[in-house]
């Protein structure tokens, strides 16, 4: 059974069909990239899966249960974590506080209104581990708003990771990074993904990053799936080349 299964998923905005009968499966431990030109429906797809948008048609099932139409926090509590295309952080909190708040969301007593904010030692530990693994421990005590763009991108991944999700959605993790920073980020990410204890859905424009990280690739074009398969197969697909890759491969 696939961890995430999209079945004929459709989302319309007025006359525009942003996501058009998309069916896709993400197996446990699989790293799948979703690529496509701007406006192909990648971000809409992420927003449908995480509950920011309600599907117009079709179903989304996660771990065997239908999650289409559930609220954002409910979906997150099922074990889906995401990062945003535009980095979303708490700028006045320190990096550690950012990750701790993310980790705390999985605690059953997250409504507790006494004891310091570090009262959940397990959440604190998960936060520290996540900071360590993304290589941002050195800046853990600085306000997130003062970090470099690269560190902020990594911090957001650390926040998602600290929730120990079974499915992680990364929306252009290397967007806006320098070549050097991209290299470091890919290094860190490939190390994480190689462990295979969570599935990853990745939207990325940098094809170098995609071919380095992804085991399977889904190509979207105008909301519809035009190709699906391992990187080598997708690379050779002529339809994909005309639609998107433009001779890259």
């Amino acid at each position: 059974m696939a961890l995430l299964e999209l079945n004929e998923l459709t989302r319309r905005f007025g006359g525009l069909v942003a996501v058009d009968h998309v069916s896709m499966r993400v197996e446990e431990g699989e790293v799948r990239a979703v690529i496509g030109p701007n406006g192909a429906g990648k971000s809409t797809l992420f927003n449908l899966i995480t509950g920011l948008l309600k599907p117009s048609q079709g179903s989304i099932s996660f771990a065997g249960k239908d999650i289409g139409g559930l609220s954002i926090p409910r979906i997150c509590q099922r074990g889906i974590a995401r990062t945003f295309q535009l980095t979303a952080l708490f700028p006045q909190m320190t990096a550690r506080e950012n990750v701790r708040l993310a980790a705390q969301a999985r605690e059953h007593r997250r409504w507790q209104f006494y004891g310091g904010s570090g009262v959940f030692s397990a959440a604190g530990r998960r936060a520290d581990i996540a900071l360590e693994r993304l290589g941002v421990s050195a800046v853990a005590d600085r306000p997130a708003g003062l970090l470099s763009h690269g560190d902020r991108r990594l911090l957001e991944v650390a926040m998602a990771l600290s929730q120990e999700p079974s499915l992680l959605l990364l929306d252009e993790p290397t967007q806006g990074l320098s070549v050097e920073e991209t290299g470091q980020a890919v290094e860190v990410l490939s190390g994480l993904l190689a462990e295979g204890n969570m599935s990853v859905l990745l939207v990325e424009h940098d094809m170098g990053v995609v071919f380095r990280l992804a085991q399977r690739i889904t190509v979207l074009h105008r909301g519809a799936v035009i190709a699906d398969g391992p990187p080598d197969v997708v690379r050779q697909d002529t339809g994909v080349q005309t639609a998107y890759l433009g001779g890259f491969a």
């Binding site: 954002i72 926090p73 997150c76 909190m93 320190t94 708040l101 969301a105 209104f113 926040m159 929730q163």
Partner: protein, 299 residues
């Protein structure tokens, strides 16, 4: 002693608003609703029942809290300015009810002759003027400790998350609406507690306690004192009351001068009185690294 007692009551009122304004960035323009309701409820209970003051004060606050759940549920349907307008609408609604429902509220005269009834068990130290001061002081201290624990707790961390980036807090799996309802309810309850103390203190409750002018004044106290610090709004309330008393000796138009002071604070000292004190203290000791506390209202 009288002025001091009033300052402490207003301090509690302003601190209760700080939970919303300072920690969650939910700006209420109708916080007088809680205060006025508490005052009327407590006044009515003291006039029409034989319950002692020590019972009517908490009962009034709890009653306000129950109603506040509904108010919070409605107001948090909206965000930003719409939220503020809804809080104002509820306050004006209560104002209209207090004005019209003469048989219960006394209409435009309000409730007068509210006693500080002693008891239970012959406990009468708090009924005296000085005793009442200590009662208010104790309540404020307890409320302050409670709020301080709250804002430092995991719950408080979520409130700060909502303040800084609600969409992200939601995406992390927190039901932010529920947290907002909780903090609005709590804030109104504590505001009503302050109002419930005011009624037996002043001996009366009138529609001014529900008027939008008071909602605006308490917001000014929070901002001038330093939003998001708990202690700042208490100082802000004392400052407001002192300035009002001093200036009104000289001029009828004291509010005009207070307006100028308010503008000066917003422009030159946006962290408020507590920010100024704290800033000076930090420069002298310089124990905390700059970035830990350097961001306005970060704590």
């Amino acid at each position: 002693m009288t002025l001091l007692t009033e300052a402490l009551i207003l301090g509690l009122f302003a601190m209760s608003l700080d939970l919303m304004v300072g920690y969650t960035r939910l700006v209420s323009f109708g916080h007088a609703a809680g205060y006025g309701f508490g005052a009327y409820a407590c006044g009515w209970l003291l006039l029409h029942t034989s319950l002692p003051m020590m019972a009517t004060i908490p009962i009034s606050a709890l009653l306000a809290g129950v109603i506040a759940v509904g108010v919070a549920w409605v107001c948090t349907q909206a965000t930003g300015v719409s939220f503020s307008m809804l809080t104002l609408a509820f306050a004006q609604l209560l104002y209209a009810i207090a004005y019209k429902w003469t048989s219960v509220t006394g209409g435009s005269d309000g409730l007068a002759g509210i006693p500080r009834r002693p008891g239970p068990f012959g406990l009468n130290i708090f009924a005296t003027r000085n005793g009442f001061y200590y009662l208010v002081l104790l309540v404020l201290l307890a409320a302050f400790l409670f709020c301080r624990a709250l804002v430092r707790s995991p719950f408080g961390a979520v409130l700060r998350g909502i303040r800084e980036n609600e969409a992200k807090t939601l995406a992390l799996g927190y039901n932010t609406r529920a947290y907002k309802i909780a903090v609005v309810t709590l804030s109104y309850t504590l505001g009503a507690l302050a109002g419930a103390l005011y009624a037996p203190f002043a001996g009366f409750a009138n529609t001014e306690l529900l008027f939008w002018l008071l909602s605006g004044q308490v917001l000014i106290m929070v901002i001038v004192g330093g939003a998001g610090t708990l202690i700042g709004p208490i100082l802000g309330a004392a400052f407001f009351l002192t300035v009002e008393h001093q200036l009104s000796n000289y001029t009828e138009a004291w509010a005009l001068f207070f307006g100028l002071i308010f503008i000066a604070f917003v422009i030159f000292a946006p962290q408020g009185i507590w920010g100024l004190i704290h800033g000076r203290f930090r420069r002298r000791t310089a124990v905390q690294p700059e970035y830990r506390r350097g961001v306005a209202g970060a704590q």
